[in-house]
């Protein structure tokens, strides 16, 4: 399942239309919720069920609705123009995935077999790759909304890292993180809306008045 998440992340890099971008993000978040639920099932950790439910609520339902309404309000159907072209982006993402696996290797402890489900290793590599590819997507996109989506998918990577490394942070921390993600999504979408209204465009490379 973790591998599928990675595939979706690379699909996001290759995607040119913003609505599709939002759909892929939704699917990815749904998979994350499923992974969290699986881990909860095998480890008999009830608090991870809550985390899974919250992922479902916040990232699969609320945030996509928020962004879809935003897209309707500002009526964008124009294509995303990446700075690096699509094939090259996919190749770069492949390289970053490789890097993710190399980094994750240093966390691997063969003697640690006390964990009931040892998905840790693979999932961590995927998580680090998600994080790196999220970074790359942020740099690669000029449109404000796709940068926000990249930031959120980067956060998805963190979430995966948290559940695969440590079976989730303490519940109160997860609650706080979800709250922050939700508020951040709202704040950023308001900013996107205002930028769109002011500049008649979402191209953040137009934001270049403040220098020095």
């Amino acid at each position: 399942m973790a591998a599928l998440v990675l595939v979706l992340q690379i699909a996001m890099v290759a995607q040119r239309r913003i609505v599709a971008h939002i759909r892929i993000f939704t699917a990815q978040s749904f998979l994350l919720a499923a992974i969290a639920a699986t881990i909860a099932w095998f480890n008999h950790a009830p608090h991870i069920y809550i985390v899974a439910a919250l992922t479902l609520l916040v990232k699969v339902i609320l945030v996509p609705i928020l962004f879809k309404r935003l897209v309707e309000r500002i009526r964008i159907s124009d294509e995303i123009e990446p700075i690096v072209n699509v094939p090259l982006s996919v190749v770069i993402s492949g390289g970053l995935t490789l890097l993710g696996y190399v980094v994750a290797e240093s966390f691997y402890r063969p003697d640690e077999t006390n964990a009931p489900v040892s998905l840790g290793h693979n999932a961590l590599a995927v998580a680090i790759s998600l994080f790196l590819i999220g970074f790359f997507t942020m740099i690669n996109r000029r449109k404000a909304l796709s940068q926000v989506l990249a930031l959120l998918s980067l956060e998805n990577g963190l979430f995966l890292a948290a559940i695969s490394l440590t079976y989730g942070m303490p519940l109160i921390v997860e609650l706080g993180v979800f709250f922050d993600v939700l508020v951040a999504a709202m704040v950023l979408s308001i900013l996107v809306y205002r930028i769109r209204e002011t500049f008649e465009s979402m191209d953040v490379s137009l934001l270049r008045k403040l220098r020095g």
Partner: protein, 498 residues
């Protein structure tokens, strides 16, 4: 009890301001709220001095001398900025900077935004300093960003949107790294007994068992944390949001961001530094901190020398001082930690004073470019001019002002502990900043030109006078309890590490 009251006051203040209909009501609520907050902060400091640490809810909230010092500084700055803001925003309202008409719906809505978001910002800064759980601390740091984004867009100019966008995105990416670092820290601790519980990520627990944390993971965690909270503190090269955000936000907010919020970001960094140096020894985190600290000081020099805009000049100064404090943390000896805490205190006073002065000048002359300032500040606004110049002398480290003492202490600590290269660069960059800042600000304040004398405005000049008196007095005499608090905060840093 005290902590609960401390947490409730800003929340209630924000709620009341949100529902207030008239400007006077919002001003009154904020003034009363922040006064109460300041008194409670003093009470907390007294309690910490008496008892050592204050905890609540099974150690979920935890305040030691370091937290208490940061809270007192935050509370002091926010009270003075609240009084200043009353005068500043009234003038804005009259001059039509907040909307089309002076009493229009739009300007009231803007004021409501200011008076609601500021207590929320203060609330999240408070939460940073008393959250024991490192994950909760991260949530609170992120909340400070979210609460202040719309303060940056306050005036709704095109440039404020740009500043807010950079602030939110760079801050968001930086903090995601800090979250990653927090996750890795939790992983480093997961072999400890009882790490599954809520307290598994509590700083006070982790610091006791720092030696048993997984070393490899802590190494990675500290790098991520330094990049993450370093972005929030505006360390180079992650500092680019800072001049934009500080020059676009309304001046009282900029004063809070550049002093209190910087302290909070450094506070988070200090907590992780203590953990890491207990786990890996001070060598590894110290070197990284020195690198980023000296780099920040160095990068700010050319920007200060060629700066055209005085609010951006102050922002680069904050980057410089953030570098100074991180350098002091990197040195890490007893003397270095003491220098750090003194510098944090003095910088908070001087920097907020500078921003408030800059606000007076900006509103009177309607420009923040040196070139467009027609007339001399000292003739038009004698008090602001004198205080501005004095605070500028203080912040570039002129004796007899207090920042000279703390910077001197830091340089001495650097020489003592053998960081000669860092110390030499510190002095070199300090000289550059000194020259640049005095060149610009001296010319601006003492320049030729006649102007009408501006009227005396008690709301603003009141805050100015209080801060200026504190700045002068503290150079010669630090009140006993405050000095004790600073010493104890410093020993929180150095006591655990050496």
């Amino acid at each position: 009890m005290l902590l609960i009251a401390l947490l409730l006051v800003p929340i209630v203040t924000a709620a009341l301001s949100y529902f207030a209909r008239r400007r006077a009501a919002m001003e009154l609520v904020n003034l009363v709220g922040f006064s109460a907050f300041f008194l409670l902060a003093l009470a907390l400091a007294a309690q910490v001095l008496a008892a050592g640490t204050v905890t609540l809810a099974n150690g979920f909230f935890y305040a030691d001398a370091l937290s208490a010092l940061v809270i007192v500084l935050t509370a002091g700055v926010s009270l003075l900025c609240a009084t200043y803001a009353i005068g500043y925003l009234r003038d804005d309202q009259q001059s039509g900077a907040l909307g089309d008409e002076a009493d229009g719906e739009e300007s009231i809505a803007r004021l409501r935004k200011y008076y609601t978001l500021t207590p929320l910002l203060v609330f999240s800064m408070l939460f940073v300093t008393i959250a024991n759980n490192l994950g909760v601390m991260w949530v609170a740091v992120e909340a400070t960003t979210l609460a202040s984004v719309f303060l940056v867009t306050f005036y709704g100019r095109i440039t404020s949107l740009e500043a807010a966008w950079k602030y939110a995105i760079i801050g968001g990416v930086g903090l995601s790294m800090a979250l990653f670092g927090t996750v890795v820290t939790y992983y480093a601790a997961h072999l400890l007994a009882g790490s599954d519980a809520l307290s598994g990520l509590n700083w006070s627990v982790l610091v006791q068992h720092a030696g048993q944390l997984d070393k490899q993971s802590m190494r990675l965690a500290f790098v991520l944390i330094l990049l993450g909270y370093g972005t929030k503190a505006g360390l180079a090269p992650m500092h680019t949001w800072k001049p934009d955000a500080y020059s676009e936000a309304p001046v009282p907010s900029a004063a809070i961001l550049s002093s209190a919020m910087l302290n909070c970001a450094l506070y988070a960094l200090i907590r992780f530094y203590i953990l890491t140096s207990r786990c890996l020894g001070p060598e590894f985190p110290g070197r990284l901190l020195l690198l980023f600290g000296i780099l920040s000081m160095g990068i700010s020099v050319p920007f200060i020398l060629v700066q055209k805009n005085y609010r951006r000049l102050l922002a680069y100064h904050t980057i410089d001082h953030s570098g100074i404090m991180v350098t002091a943390l990197g040195i890490g000896s007893v003397m270095g930690s003491l220098g750090l805490m003194l510098h944090m205190t003095f910088h908070t006073i001087a920097k907020s004073l500078l921003f408030l002065c800059a606000g007076n000048v900006y509103q009177y002359f309607k420009t923040d470019l040196f070139a467009k300032l027609k007339g001399s500040v000292i003739k038009a606004m004698p008090l602001t001019g004198v205080v501005f110049l004095m605070a500028m002398l203080a912040i570039v480290g002129m004796p007899p002002f207090s920042l000279f003492q703390s910077e001197f202490l830091i340089v001495r600590a650097a020489f003592d502990s053998g960081h000669v290269l860092s110390a030499v660069l510190f002095i070199l960059f300090g000289t550059g900043v000194f020259a640049g800042a005095l060149l610009h600000v001296g010319g601006m304040i003492l320049g030729p030109g006649e102007g009408d004398v501006a009227p005396f405005r008690p709301w603003r000049e009141g805050s100015l006078i209080v801060l200026a008196v504190v700045l002068v007095v503290i150079g010669f005499w630090v009140p006993g309890p405050l000095l004790e608090l600073i010493h104890r905060a410093a020993s929180v840093v150095s006591g655990y590490t050496s």
